[in-house]
């Protein structure tokens, strides 16, 4: 069967796929594999329906392919340009497409050979042929680096097309403001079909239809579907959208300028933490519902539910209606109450309380998953329970999606009561709404969107109430379950389902603790190879890996959009003198090394060699301690002579035969030609500078003092008699008489968008530019500035 995970359209059930048209089958190729689907499928839904449930391997384990973890793909003709990669979740499947996964397309010859072997094995199985350990490591969309091909301007940008986003867009649009609404899926309404509208309110479909019809009547609202906002800061949102060009999907970068931004980005479904929580077949309740509801996709023919929440029961009843055998619903709570639980009971679904998953492993013989549950501490005496199932539906609560909020410089705080990070504090021009702001019920989400729009436009906004059902009737959700560590499990317990692949560390073994080695797998965020998601940080707090008080700052630093750092096309600046001038004497760091008034000599070896700067001069061959040195070579010898110019202690005299140590050892030298006159020294240094000038270094005239000085000696007896102190200009600089207060240099105005709100003297995010690369807003100007710095850093 070409689509083993596609639910039948027969029967009286709702999971037939609202987005697909079963009368229009399509087929495309991915990595040479034929994939079947229907019009309306995304690449991802078609892959899942076709039985491909693995995204590749990480270590020895296979990772589930899902909405939060799907490798970017390229049209086969575009493999030379990774910036044109497409997101499988947002890309519509189309007949005849020939696609390759991004990392596969970039392999070298050796890699391709290995890949071919892996591919043969993979094609027999249910996974994509990718390895996420090494050079396939970067999972983030390469479109982050692409320049914006389209520029839009609006009065308000709304990120998220759920109820809050619709409410915000409509509220602003009705007042005549120009609004751009961004939604990453191909439909509007967010998750309302999963969460419901509550009570006697209108049905989710009616509600969404009403809102979208109102929006459609307003020409000043632009809706971008299949569009993901991946960067936001004050005044700018960067978006990647998948569009169809002559029926072929294409990736397009968009930059939207707007003085007001509403982030209605919803909440992330938390993944319970247990070994094997990303094994193919483990699916979040929300994802399982959406796949089935929108695309008629369901893995296998039976299912097990493991939940800590009331909405975790939500998908069980429709699944049973669609012919799925729901074996059991395991709830972590001791005695939960909920209308969903009542519905499940009415369906005759078996339920077990105080149970949380410990591990989920592939059930190799039978296929599917082997799942082990432990009872929670309240009922710890009861034995573990084992199940075999095709699909494990998990629900671990939610975490507001604050990725863009943090990126824009917003702050947050860990709330112990709700076990999540929540936004804190204002941000100029940016407001959260809906689930991202912590609202839950449908009416509150819409109202929060309206209030957010009102606030940004300086209008009065009513307080938004978010009434919840009494806990007597609807038990509070448990914190995200954390399974007991299973030493024998050969699979990892990931902190979340995103691209970070951060996993729970293994604790120290008993023998390590007994030996006082602490030990265990050291787990530091500094060693986590990839950017983290907000849910990773939340999991880190729950696991005790991150102190709760530090969660916010960790999220700001580590939850970043992984844009390309390297300006690969830029060559290093040409070598240039640091100050634009050749120094008139020894460098500043030689000041005081050899007394207050040292002398400068040409030191000449007997064997005709030259000395490099830094070679130390000693009185004789005995000492080797640099502190005993009496001088140091600081420049080449002039006039092409051997040896070098050395700054020496004042007592050095012509004819002395000190020793210069270079890398080859000790070298006897003689002191020749002390620089008794400024002119001689200036000429010598000019000559050296002239040699440097031929290499491109700018030079200036060496200043010559006006004081009278002794004539150069013409005979040894006259030289001794006429010796005068070396002219001041060629000596290392001495302290001038007047103190020179440091003048603060004026910092240049940063061309990039403004930095984020400092935390204890720090800023933690750098905004992206409208041109793609992070964060170089004006490459020609920046390169000019860097070159100027190289030539004359004093101008920085």
């Amino acid at each position: 069967m070409a689509q083993p995970n596609r639910l039948t359209a027969d029967g009286d059930h709702r999971l037939k796929g609202t987005e697909i048209d079963r009368s229009r089958p399509i087929g495309f190729r991915l990595d040479g594999r034929e994939i079947q689907g229907f019009a309306g499928d995304t690449l991802l839904s078609a892959l899942l329906a076709s039985g491909i449930t693995g995204a590749g391997t990480h270590g020895e384990e296979v990772l589930a392919l899902d909405e939060r973890f799907a490798p970017p793909v390229l049209l086969r003709g575009h493999t030379h340009d990774r910036l044109r990669a497409l997101s499988p979740e947002r890309t519509p499947a189309a007949e005849g497409l020939d696609l390759v996964t991004l990392n596969r397309s970039q392999r070298g010859r050796y890699g391709r050979a290995i890949g071919l072997l892996r591919g043969i094995k993979a094609r027999r199985g249910r996974r994509l042929d990718l390895n996420y350990d090494n050079d396939d490591a970067s999972l983030a969309g390469p479109w982050f680096d692409a320049p914006a091909e389209q520029q839009l301007a609006a009065d308000l940008v709304v990120v998220g097309g759920g109820l809050a986003g619709l409410g915000a867009a409509l509220a602003a649009g009705k007042r005549g403001d120009r609004v751009v609404l961004i939604e990453r899926r191909s439909w509007l309404g967010g998750e309302v079909r999963f969460y419901g509208t509550g009570g006697d309110a209108e049905s989710p479909d009616d509600l969404v239809a009403r809102l979208t019809a109102s929006i459609a009547n307003l020409a000043n609202i632009t809706i971008l579907l299949a569009a993901e906002a991946f960067a936001a800061f004050e005044g700018l949102v960067r978006v990647n959208q998948v569009v169809l060009e002559n029926g072929v999907p294409a990736s397009r970068g968009i930059a939207i300028s707007a003085p007001r931004i509403i982030l209605a980005t919803g909440a992330i479904d938390r993944l319970p933490i247990f070994a094997g929580n990303r094994t193919p077949g483990v699916v979040s309740a929300l994802a399982a519902f959406n796949r089935a509801d929108r695309y008629g996709v369901w893995i296998g023919r039976d299912a097990l539910f493991a939940t800590a929440t009331n909405v975790g029961y939500r998908a069980a009843m429709p699944a049973m209606d669609a012919g799925i055998a729901v074996r059991r619903i395991a709830d972590t709570r001791l005695d939960p109450q909920s209308r969903y639980i009542s519905f499940a009971k009415a369906y005759g679904i078996g339920m077990t309380r105080s149970l949380k998953p410990r591990k989920a492993m592939p059930a190799k013989k039978r296929g599917g998953l082997a799942v082990v549950f432990d009872h929670t501490p309240e009922e710890a005496a009861r034995p573990s329970e084992h199940f075999i199932t095709d699909q494990l539906i998990v629900s671990g609560g939610s975490q507001p999606d604050l990725m863009l909020w943090h990126m824009a410089g917003g702050s947050s705080r860990w709330i112990t009561a709700s076990n999540r990070l929540e936004a804190e504090g204002p941000l100029p021009g940016i407001v959260l709404a809906g689930g991202a702001a912590g609202f839950q019920n449908a009416a509150a989400c819409i109202a929060s969107g309206e209030a957010a729009a009102a606030r940004l436009f300086g209008r009065s906004a009513l307080h938004v109430a978010d009434p919840q059902i009494d806990p007597v009737y609807e038990s509070p959700d448990d914190p995200t379950p954390v399974g007991i560590f299973d030493r024998e499990a050969e699979v990892s317990a990931y902190l979340d389902g995103g691209v970070s692949l951060a996993a729970r560390p293994r604790p120290a073994q008993r023998w390590q603790r007994l030996l006082g080695r602490g030990g265990g797998q050291r787990w530091g965020l500094d060693e986590q190879a990839r950017p983290l998601g907000v849910a990773d940080v939340a999991a880190g707090v729950q696991l005790g890996l991150i102190p709760p008080d530090d969660a916010a700052i960790v999220a700001q630093e580590r939850c970043v959009t992984p844009g390309d750092i390297v300006d690969a096309g830029r060559l290093p600046a040409p070598v240039a003198d640091s100050a634009g001038v050749v120094p008139a004497g020894p460098p500043a760091y030689l000041t005081g090394r050899f007394g207050p008034k040292p002398s400068i000599w040409l030191v000449e070896p007997h064997d005709g060699r030259s000395f490099e700067p830094g070679c130390l001069v000693y009185a004789n061959a005995d000492p080797a301690d640099p502190l005993a040195a009496i001088g140091v070579v600081f420049a080449p010898a002039p006039e092409g002579r051997n040896g070098g110019l050395a700054v020496m202690v004042r007592t050095a005299a012509e004819g002395d035969t000190p020793v210069v140590r270079d890398v080859s050892g000790q070298n006897s030298v003689r002191l020749v030609d002390p620089y008794k006159t400024e002119q001689a020294a200036a000429d010598a240094i000019k000559q050296i500078a002239g040699g440097a000038a031929q290499m491109g270094a700018p030079t200036t005239e060496t200043p010559v003092p006006t004081e009278a000085v002794s004539e150069p000696a013409k005979a040894p007896e006259e030289a001794a008699a006429a010796a005068a102190p070396p002219p001041a200009d060629v000596l290392p600089p001495q302290a001038p008489a007047e103190p020179t207060p440091a003048e603060p240099l004026v910092a240049p105005e940063p061309a990039a968008p403004p930095p984020v709100t400092p935390v204890a003297g720090e800023t933690t995010a750098v905004a992206m530019s409208s041109e793609g690369a992070l964060p170089l807003p004006d490459r020609p100007a920046l390169e000019k500035k860097l070159d100027e710095n190289a030539e004359d850093p004093a101008s920085a």
């Binding site: 992984p562 760091y589 640099p626």
Partner: protein, 361 residues
């Protein structure tokens, strides 16, 4: 005079600050508290700790050699070997002045017994000369910090989180620390890292030698190996170190867009190279490249700045200085690098690369 809860309050979150606090307590028998931010295990690193530095002054190398041996013995005693790594760092120049300075450094270091080889010219990663130093020690901050914390606790050092305290520095160098509803007193405040100097001193209280500037710290996704586990580019203001996951920790000085471009120059050939974390913070260095240890301006809090990447390895000498038991050599060394010496500091200036010439914040 009020009873001091502590004799010394050390402010700082680096291994130098922790070592200083621990040494003052354990070897000099002072009552010490340490006020520090959250540990490195969670944050993008702000710096590195390396037992060699691109400095030219022989007295610095002399001191560093002695104190490095002391520091390594101490770390071994507190079972911190897991937090140390033997590395062969590379220092690379771009400009003639930088090449010249590194050549000076090389000869001085060799004179003290360090193995320093000059790399073949024309290396792709540097426009000027580059040198590899052998057998240096790099401290792994994320691993060593818990070990230092345990040692501090054993030594009786009070450890307070910076976010939980309110601090008042007085002109006489004492400090009042408001913590958990009580006020603690310290007879002597020591600002032992850049963050503490930035946080607790206003601009008029900072010595004029101190230059305030931004540093951008980046953590990258796994990438190809660097030419060495640690690479320092004094002329670019960039320091690179490789972490265990195969990514790079990059530190760049200056305005963020400049720092990022400089970091990019150092990592050319690895594109695309993705970031896994980022932070931008302000720091202080000395404009003349020499360490600065001594009282702040108008406030007698001890300021420790400009020690460079080797600061942690100088901790024993700094502790003796603060405790009043420094040797003659150490006293002379630090006296020449005191705050408030104005232009006399030219006698101890060192090569500062790009740092001294950057715009101030």
């Amino acid at each position: 005079m009020a009873d001091a809860s502590y004799e010394i309050a050390v402010f700082g979150s680096t291994p130098l600050a922790a070592l200083l606090a621990g040494l003052l307590a354990s070897e000099h028998h002072k009552r010490v508290c340490l006020i520090a931010e959250a540990g490195s295990a969670f944050r993008v690193p702000r710096g590195i700790d390396l037992s060699v530095m691109p400095v030219t002054r022989p007295e610095t190398w002399a001191l560093l050699k002695d104190t490095t041996a002391e520091t390594l013995r101490l770390l071994a005693q507190i079972r911190a070997k897991a937090g140390m790594q033997r590395v062969d760092p590379i220092f690379a120049a771009d400009m003639p002045a930088g090449s010249e300075a590194l050549s000076h450094m090389r000869h001085v270091a060799m004179g003290f017994g360090y193995a320093v080889e000059r790399l073949p010219s024309g290396a792709a990663f540097a426009a000027g000369d580059a040198y590899r130093l052998r057998d240096a020690v790099l401290l792994r901050r994320a691993e060593i910090e818990p070990l230092l914390a345990a040692w501090l606790e054993k030594a009786g050092v009070g450890q307070l989180a910076a976010r939980d305290v309110g601090v008042t520095l007085r002109r006489d160098g004492t400090a009042r620390i408001a913590y958990a509803g009580t006020n603690l007193e310290a007879a002597q405040a020591v600002l032992a890292d850049d963050a503490a100097i930035v946080t607790y001193l206003e601009a008029p209280e900072r010595d004029r030698t101190l230059a305030l500037h931004h540093v951008t710290a980046l953590l990258t996704e796994p990438t190809h190996s660097l030419q060495a586990p640690v690479m320092i580019y004094p002329d670019r203001g960039v320091t690179l170190s490789r972490n265990r996951s195969g990514g790079v920790v990059a530190l760049g000085s200056g305005a963020p867009e400049i720092a990022l471009a400089q970091i990019g120059r150092c990592l050319t050939g690895r594109s695309p190279l993705r970031r896994a974390g980022q932070r931008i913070f302000r720091t202080v260095t000395t404009a003349d490249g020499a360490p600065l240890v001594g009282p702040a301006r108008g406030i007698k809090a001890v300021v420790i700045a400009g020690l460079g990447v080797g600061g942690a390895f100088l901790a024993p000498a700094v502790a003796r200085l603060i405790a009043g038991t420094a040797s003659k050599k150490e006293q002379d060394y630090f006296a020449a690098r005191e705050a408030g010496r104005g232009n006399a500091r030219s006698l101890v200036a060192d090569y500062a690369g790009s740092i001294s010439l950057e715009a101030q914040v």
